[in-house]
């Protein structure tokens, strides 16, 4: 199958992909999201970042060969490995563009490229909080922490807290 990631409304695509990614690997809560797909098209080569909000919705730079990228041979679900940038879309937040990384047939990362709002200010629409998997925090749990943050400690709760243990260790 040809490598092609259609990114519609960039924001909607962001949430759909994030949710879809979660749903595909866990029993995450599914949200139904609808989008009017205005059809930005991503090209299938790693590192492509220059799309534009042109009048044509279906500019396709990979139509003759979607598999000439060196990392596309292990694909099992039709999507070749690589990084795909969607076209620039106008949203109420300003112009937005999303980048998707596919590895081993699965979406491994979704980032929104830094763009501008209506006032021309640089903004990070990517700053939206998206669902993440528990496994993403597991490795960090064994970090040698200096301090522990949590919801307000009452004095009683403090006595049994991690922060208390750190203070008593006195290092």
């Amino acid at each position: 199958m040809r490598t092609r990631a259609i990114l519609g409304s960039a924001l909607a695509a962001f949430s759909i992909l994030a949710i879809g990614w979660e749903a595909g690997t866990s029993n995450g809560t599914l949200a139904t999201t609808t989008t009017t797909d205005t059809g930005g098209t991503a090209s299938g080569t790693t590192g492509t970042g220059s799309s534009s909000s042109s009048s044509s919705n279906t500019t396709d730079s990979g139509s003759t060969s979607g598999s000439d990228s060196s990392s596309s041979t292990t694909s099992t679900s039709g999507a070749a490995d690589g990084t795909y940038s969607g076209s620039v879309e106008s949203t109420r937040f300003g112009d937005v563009q999303v980048q998707v990384t596919i590895s081993g047939g699965a979406i491994t990362d979704v980032t929104a490229l830094k763009l501008t709002d209506h006032d021309g200010r640089s903004v990070q629409i990517s700053n939206r909080a998206a669902p993440i998997l528990r496994q993403e925090v597991l490795a960090s749990q064994s970090a040698n922490v200096q301090m522990v943050g949590g919801a307000t400690y009452t004095s009683e709760a403090y006595l049994s807290s991690l922060q208390s243990a750190l203070d008593q260790a006195g290092f």
Binding site: A143, G149, A151, T152, Y153
Partner: protein, 247 residues
């Protein structure tokens, strides 16, 4: 060096390699002064007298009116999710006062130390260019465990966490807002007041305030909802990845 004491009805800790006893004493005194003025648990505090009606807000100190103005400004910025009043209408500045006191302490510590970390009641701030982490974030489902550790980006100076698990009365939920889906919200920001106010506001205001906060402010956010599911901004994911021990 590590120092621990009790203030403002909660627990405080300072860690630093070059802290002096004089700086620590100054920091402790600052918190004690703020507590004496703003505590609603002390009937003789200035804010208690305002709450009781024996002191008019107009006649209150510049410090008190300044804190009230800050709280009102944050209420406006967060579309009402953050509030400076209890449901019974009494002025309650506990939502900003601790953070303002921490900001004052941060200025004192910056002047007297190159590398420090301060924790008060589960909210943290630290020196610029010093040791920024790893910091742990408590698991709301098991308070003896770390949910995630973070090594914040260089500009970050504060990590605040709010929740409904431990001290429910700390956050007033507006009656016209839906029940918060979040049991815990952690915010990394470049200053402790922004981090603390937004963490509190997101718990109180739910998803709408979460979206508003991540749109409007340069902050990293980690939320835990009632089902235990996590949500994180990209900056928070990067901070969590950075905390994972290599190998």
């Amino acid at each position: 060096m590590r120092h621990h004491w009790t203030t403002m009805g909660t627990e405080a800790s300072i860690v630093g390699s070059d802290l002096t006893a004089a700086v620590i004493a100054e920091v402790e005194r600052g918190f004690a002064d703020v507590d004496a003025r703003f505590s609603l648990y002390r009937p003789d505090s200035e804010l208690s007298r305002v709450a009781a009606g024996s002191l008019r807000l107009d006649d209150a100190s510049d410090d008190l009116r300044g804190a009230y103005a800050r709280a009102l400004a944050w209420r406006a910025r967060t579309d009402g999710a953050f509030t400076a009043h209890r449901p019974d209408g009494v002025v309650d500045l506990s939502g900003v006062v601790k953070a303002l006191a921490m900001a004052d302490a941060a200025a004192l510590l910056d002047a007297g130390s190159r590398d420090w970390q301060l924790g008060v009641g589960g909210d943290l701030c630290w020196s610029a260019g010093g040791t920024s982490g790893p910091f742990g974030i408590v698991d709301p489902a098991d308070r003896s465990a770390v949910l995630a550790a973070v090594v914040p980006a260089a500009s970050r100076r504060a990590l605040a966490t709010s929740g409904s698990a431990e001290r429910g009365e700390h956050i007033w939920t507006r009656l016209d807002l839906p029940v918060s889906p979040f049991v815990q919200v952690s915010v990394l920001a470049d200053d402790i007041v922004t981090a603390d106010v937004l963490a509190t506001a997101i718990v109180a205001g739910g998803e709408a305030t979460l979206d508003l906060a991540t749109e409007r402010w340069d902050v990293d956010v980690l939320t835990v909802d009632r089902a235990g599911e996590l949500r994180a901004t990209p900056g928070m994911r990067a901070a969590i990845r950075s905390a994972a021990p290599v190998g």
